[in-house]
Symmetry: C2
Subunit: 290 residues, 2 copies
Amino acid sequence: MNLLDGKATAAQMKQEIAQSVLEIKNSGKRTPHLAAILVGNDGASETYVNSKEKDCHEVGMSSTVLRFPETITEAELLQEVVKINNNKDIDGLIVQLPLPKHINEQKIIETINPDKDVDGFHPLNVGHMVTGLPTYVSATPDGIMELLARYKVETAGKHCVVIGRSNIVGRPMSNLLSQKANPGDCTVTICHSRTKDLKAFCLQADIIIAALGKAEFLTADMVREGAVVVDVGITRVPAQNKSGFKLLGDVKFDEVAPKCSYITPVPGGVGPMTRVSLLKNTLKAARGLR
Amino acid sequence: MNLLDGKATAAQMKQEIAQSVLEIKNSGKRTPHLAAILVGNDGASETYVNSKEKDCHEVGMSSTVLRFPETITEAELLQEVVKINNNKDIDGLIVQLPLPKHINEQKIIETINPDKDVDGFHPLNVGHMVTGLPTYVSATPDGIMELLARYKVETAGKHCVVIGRSNIVGRPMSNLLSQKANPGDCTVTICHSRTKDLKAFCLQADIIIAALGKAEFLTADMVREGAVVVDVGITRVPAQNKSGFKLLGDVKFDEVAPKCSYITPVPGGVGPMTRVSLLKNTLKAARGLR
């Protein structure tokens, strides 16, 4: 069993990105700059945005967080997005979701300049991704693809079962892994809540992407010997430790891992790769390389 | 065995569309209007565009074909697209593909106003389709979905195997049939040239979408009893008849049909549905309902 070590890989990538940022600065160009919009006082959103800011600083990028009260109107928020679209000092813009209910998220996302849409949520970028054109791939799927690439996991001709059809993980993964590309060229089966006999599909899989969001759902009896398992789930459960909680993936790691050729741990697998992918996209944006 | 009769269904839909067009005219509004751009003198392209024009007239829509010589530059063609984008008398625009090699097709497609992109090829519309938002779905996948809907073919929880990953058929079909929708909610496996043991996948399928473009590829030994088979292939082969050729699908109809619960014939299956879907999208455009 080989660990797909997201933590170590992300750390390595951060060094590479920091080096590229340094080269950009040394060449006399402006420092790559990520802007984040944060609306309201949601604790989790606050934490995510803080992490993203910290990551930027670690690799030498600039970051700006624009905070707005929960009472901001949709029209006002759209104006703020347009301001950043037009701000030549900012390369990438993310709008931390969810937004308050009175704001149409899709409208906000579609107002972001696709060239600055480093989250890859704009439908234009989704369309490019699906048709195999260069684009910003959203952070979690991009991080998974990068991890498979760096560990040289063989994907061509393999059968990949993706569990979950969310627009941010399952669906892009199924489209990416079935592309004529490397990693890619998989026969992909996309499974979801309406799938009958999920276990039978999983038992046929060379590669399983578990992205359904149910703690320890994937058990050893669902995985065949030698499979590659990527665990996208993160569920917080109460625990008797300092923080009072621990993180569980969608995979029952202890029993599944011994059967796998490769597996991602939780934490330390997909999570750090997701974070670093945002930096990668911001660097691409700064280089004008969407 | 039930025939999914695309010819009859398309004829029925044409009547419905003609009725809607009449209502629009009777309400004093402008006649729905489709524009087609045709570059060069490719025989097949000429035939397709003529069919589309004929279809428009049959349902009472206006159509305009703009013909340009093969020597038109990319910049000139882009200008023509922009002119139609800005022409308030035109609801839908299609650019007949392929274009001459000196013209970047993707650039032309992305210049079409997404609101007029009745072919559904603009990546913004592809992105909407993939994320389950209202959009123009391109004609062949839209026609297949409509056919399944009208025949009330049960899809929820079924295993659908899509053979082929083209951006105009296989990929959209795999995304549409796996959406939380009806038709939809299928577990979908997307297969392609790199798939190993395609037969084994096909034998597990409740629904097969054959879109690989190889005449009579799918044989009876690859299909299980009671399957639904949709044949997207059209290959011309020489024949001893008046026209000198006949059309073959991707499915060996005579031997596969007896095993099926539903099957589309070729010709008279997906083809007519594809044609009528363009009219459906043009009507949507005229109503401002992308």
